[in-house]
Structures are given as C-alpha cells and as structure tokens.
Symmetry: C2
Subunit: 333 residues, 2 copies
C-alpha cells in the first residue's frame, strides 16, 4: 500500500467528522461548539494527522506565531538554560522562536525590535544591558532582569530574597564574619538587589559583614588583593563569603586554594544562579538557585497575554538554596 503523502486539509477533517467546515474552524481556533461536535472533529484531526497551518492562521490574524529571543549568548550556562526553557515554553504553545545571540551588540538588538514593530515577529523576550535601546510602548516586549520602561513587564528571580537567604544560610551554618563580593553592570537592574538583601539578612542575623563591589570590566584579580589583605597569619578573617554569581564563586574558590585557605573548612562560600555541571548534574558550588523554568514560563505567558492592562511591571519569582560542596552540610554525600 502506498502511503498518502499530501497533507490533509481542514476540508478533509470536515468530511471525516461529518460536520461543516465552519465547525472545524471553530474547534481549531478554540471557539465554543457543541461537545459532541468537538469530540468528532478532534477524533478526525487525530485520525488524519491534520496539522494546523499556523502560517495560514497568522495570515488571517496578522500574526507570525514567531517570537524573538535576545540573549547575550548561549555559551554561558545560565543563558543556555534560560534559552532552553523559553524555547520549550514557546514550542509547547506552537510558537516558533528566533534566536539572536547579541553578544551585547546593541545594533543587533535594535534590529530585532524594529522587526517586532513591523509585525515581522509577534513579540520579543529580551535580556539586555543596552541602556540606549529604544522600545516603543506598543512593542510587545518582556524584559528579563532589567526594567526597560514602566509599560514593559520585567521578569526576574527574587534577588533581594536570594541575598537575604544567603546571609541566613551562612549564619545558620555557623559563620560569624562574612563578605559579599560583587562584579557586574552598574546599570539599575534586578540582580543588584542581591546586595541589599544580603545586607538586610546580615543585620537581622547579627552577622558582621564587609563588601567588595567591582564594576563590569574590572579584572577579577582585584578580589585577590581584597582577600589577601584580609589574611593574617595564614588565616582569612572571614568564615563565610557570598559571591554575586556561581561564576565568581568558582573563581574565588580557586583563588583561596592558591592562598592555602580551605573551602568549606576555613571559609564557606555561597554563589548565585544554580549552575550545574553539564547542565543537569551536581551544582558547581553551594548556591542560590534561580527558578529558570518558571522565569521562562512567566516571560512567555506575559508576552502572549492579549490584555495589556493586566501586565505587571515586575514579577519576582522565588529562589531556593542548593548544596554544592562549598558549604558545610551534614547531608554531604
């Protein structure tokens, strides 16, 4: 038997189900029809393996069913994971995703925003640190980690709570004097709140603390100087360190090794992000975990919401703590 190769059409479905073409159209577009009709149409769709032609749908609705993601790159494991979950959330809803690794190139970013304005994509999800990016209020845009304007929803982890959790955790693990190390953009952004949350947590737990804050672009070695200036008789004067990212925590662990300071015996370290070996194995360090799949779902939900009025300006999603070998834990394997 030769297999039928031509794609079934909506007409074929109507014939198979024994209903009018308009009924099939209603079912496909999620409009109300009698329950028995719906079941017959759905059975026919299944039987014929009918694929809804979303391009044809798009033509009618002036929709492309395509969303662009602007992200610095996909090599960094946090961005890689975010890209993965946003992609899944879109595919699940039968949307396609254009990927644009911007490498912080503002020209590229502006180009994709123009595409959205010209209805060549239905909207944009963007993680960008470009201060000059021009996004009209009418452009469907959801920002990650940095507010792009009062009418543009921003989705992020609850960074303040994350900083607070890090302080509370270090206190519960027996630390008395801790440090906060940060490097990153000086632009207003959500991750900046990790610092305020950590300070707040230290104060409420009675932890004494110091800070070392560097701007993006400063060499990491600055932290070496800070740490070595806090070593007296071979002993570090901190027993806990909160690093603004796992990436920095990883660097600090290596630096301390050079100084013959043991982690977690002499000093316990907590990072931020929740990066795992190979994307799904152990945490690289003890860490405050960002809820990446929830952030992705929320971005997509907000972007595809028809009613702009209900869009919240800032959504902060709960973080959690993960053990990754750089803190003392009784449940260590």
């Amino acid at each position: 038997m030769k297999k039928e190769t031509s794609m079934p059409t909506m007409k074929d479905v109507a014939r198979e189900a024994g209903v009018a073409l308009g009924t099939v159209s209603k079912v496909v577009n999620g409009l109300p029809v009698g329950e028995s009709y719906r079941i017959r149409v759905e059975d026919a769709i299944k039987k014929l393996n009918y694929q809804v032609n979303s391009y044809a749908q798009g033509l009618k609705a002036n929709k492309t069913y395509t969303i662009a993601l602007l992200i610095p790159n996909t090599k960094d494991p946090f961005y890689a994971s975010l890209t993965y979950y946003i992609n899944l959330a879109l595919l699940k809803r039968k949307y396609r995703m254009l990927l644009c690794s911007t490498d912080f190139d503002s020209k590229q970013e502006q180009e994709y925003i123009t595409m959205a304005q010209q209805n060549k994509v239905d909207g944009i999800i963007g993680l960008t640190y470009n201060p000059n990016l021009i996004i009209e209020e009418s452009t469907p845009f959801v920002a990650i980690d940095r507010s792009m304007g009062p009418k543009i929803p921003c989705v992020a982890s609850d960074n303040f709570a994350g900083g607070q959790l890090a302080a509370e955790k270090l206190a519960a693990l027996g630390c008395k004097k801790v440090a906060f190390l940060r490097i990153g953009s000086s632009l207003t952004n959500e991750p900046n709140k990790r610092k305020a949350g950590f300070e707040n947590g230290c104060l409420s737990c009675g932890l004494s603390y110091e800070m070392k804050i560097l701007d993006d672009g400063t060499p990491y070695q600055e932290f070496d100087n800070f740490l070595s200036s806090h070593i007296y008789d071979g002993k570090l004067s901190f027993d806990g360190i909160f690093c603004v990212t796992d990436n920095l925590a990883y660097y600090i662990v290596k630096t301390l090794k050079k100084f013959h300071i043991k982690v977690p015996e002499d000093v316990q370290i907590i990072g931020f992000d929740g990066i795992r070996f190979f994307g799904d194995k152990d945490y690289i360090c003890s860490t405050i975990i960002q809820p990446v799949s929830e952030i992705a779902e929320m971005c997509v939900e907000l972007l595809l919401q028809e009613n702009m009025l209900t869009k919240p300006p800032l959504v902060c999603l709960p973080v959690s703590y993960g053990y990754g070998g750089t803190t003392r834990e009784t449940f260590d394997l």
Copy 2:
C-alpha cells in the same frame, strides 16, 4: 532638532548617491557595477543608515533568510556552544535562526523538515538521533554527527583522530594499561569512531587496553561494577582511562574518588568534547576538544552553498588536546 524616524528607502539612497535606482539595487545584491558607483552608493547607505529589507528581498527571491536549527536542547554545554556558534555564523550572514530544542521528540523534528519543504525556512541544520526521520533529498539539510543520507552533508569532528590522539596522549604520559569507556546511541554515527581510533592508537603505541561499551539508557552505575572488578588490593589495574565524553569522565572521576583511587596520581583520565566551566573558563577534565566554532561555520557554509554538486557527504574537522587536571602535566598551575 527632531530626529527623522521613518526608515530610508532604496529611493532615498539613489537620490543621496545621485545614481539610478537600479544601480543601488545592484550594489545591495552584490552584482557588478562600476567602482565609483559602488563607492557612492555605499557612502549613501552609510550616511542614511539604510537597512536592507531582507524580507522584501526574500519575497522576490522566494527566500526567507531563515534557517532552523534542530538540536536536542541547549542545556547541555556542547549543544549550547554549538547553538551559539551556529547562531553567530548565521547572523553574520544576515540570516535569522529558528531554534527548535527537540528533546529527542521526532514529531517536532519532522514538523520543521516539512517547513523546509514548504519553503517556510531556507534550510535546516540538525543534530538528531531519530532513525525514522524522513528527509527528501531536495530538502536543504546539513547534519551534525550522524549521516542522514548520501546526498545530505554531515559535519563532525574527526572522531577517529580524536580517539587515536587520546591513546597517544595516554601513552606519552606514561600509561601502560588503559581502558575505554563508552555509553551512547547504538545507531551508526560519527562519535562511534572514537572507539576505533582509540584501538588503533593503542595498537600502534603498544598499549594494552580493555573496553566497556554500554548502550544509551543503561545506568552509569554499570561502570562502577566494571571498575571495582578491576581493583585488586586497593589498586586499579588501569593507569589510564579514555571516556567517550567529558560528561562520563566527570562521573568516572567521582566514582574513583569513592573507591579511594586518586586522579591523576593513580590513573589519568581523558574525556572528549572540550567542555569548560561556565562555557569559557578551565576545562572540566583533560579532554579531546571538538572544534565547535569551525563545525558551526562549516554547517552554515554548506547549507547556504547554492551549488549542491559540490557538497561533500562527510566533513571531519580536526580536534586537539586540552589539559584539564585529570592527567599529569608539567605545566599544571
């Protein structure tokens, strides 16, 4: 002064350059025109910041300037890096990329191939282990790591040479008796050649070797049993292990730690892939590095080549060795 917000058109460029519209069109489309005309047009394009409308171009040429990438996910660091470099290679050529994380879902994969057949995308780059995928010869498709048919180019690392290099490296590092550990798909694919290359290398270096080969889905713990059956009086009978991926090497290092076998003092380990911490820091283990950016460039080059006749069926790109702490090296930091 108010900034002009409407986008300049090809007509504006012609007026600015003082040339005919057809001349601008030729320059934009890379067709030959007199040198002085080309310079005038290019200057005008620059001055007006004229953006070539590739959608309009596509309409004329029946091109979408869009390529789909089928990849299992972007959480795995090898896939994440591949996605990044393919994205860069496409954006550089003013192409857009649709990302489809397939999670090994064959229905998704077939859907994107249908899109390519219907000219909704210009072509596909795919890393897939779906044995039932139907790709017509006329579909522009470039495969990674696994041949999908005689007329479909496949791009991969030189996996055979990589296996051989691992054996030679272990021999040069003083190993006498080595093991090869593999887990992966049993489908014919390029990474399978790592085994043959390793055997070949062992034979030519006079290294005695054993193999443990598991099919995808087998629990990693099987390797624990294999290793523990080769421990006598607390000593492992191998002094070198080649693991088919860095992911497996990472697992084996952890397992050996449990057995109180020291890496690299008691046994040296080499993985495959070249995975780095955070995508761009140290290698996670000593490794055979896949040339990811070169693979990406080659895929895009082959896909966009107009003349199908010149497309080679298989392109293998050179690998190299990277030190990552699980082998003995004099230049250890």
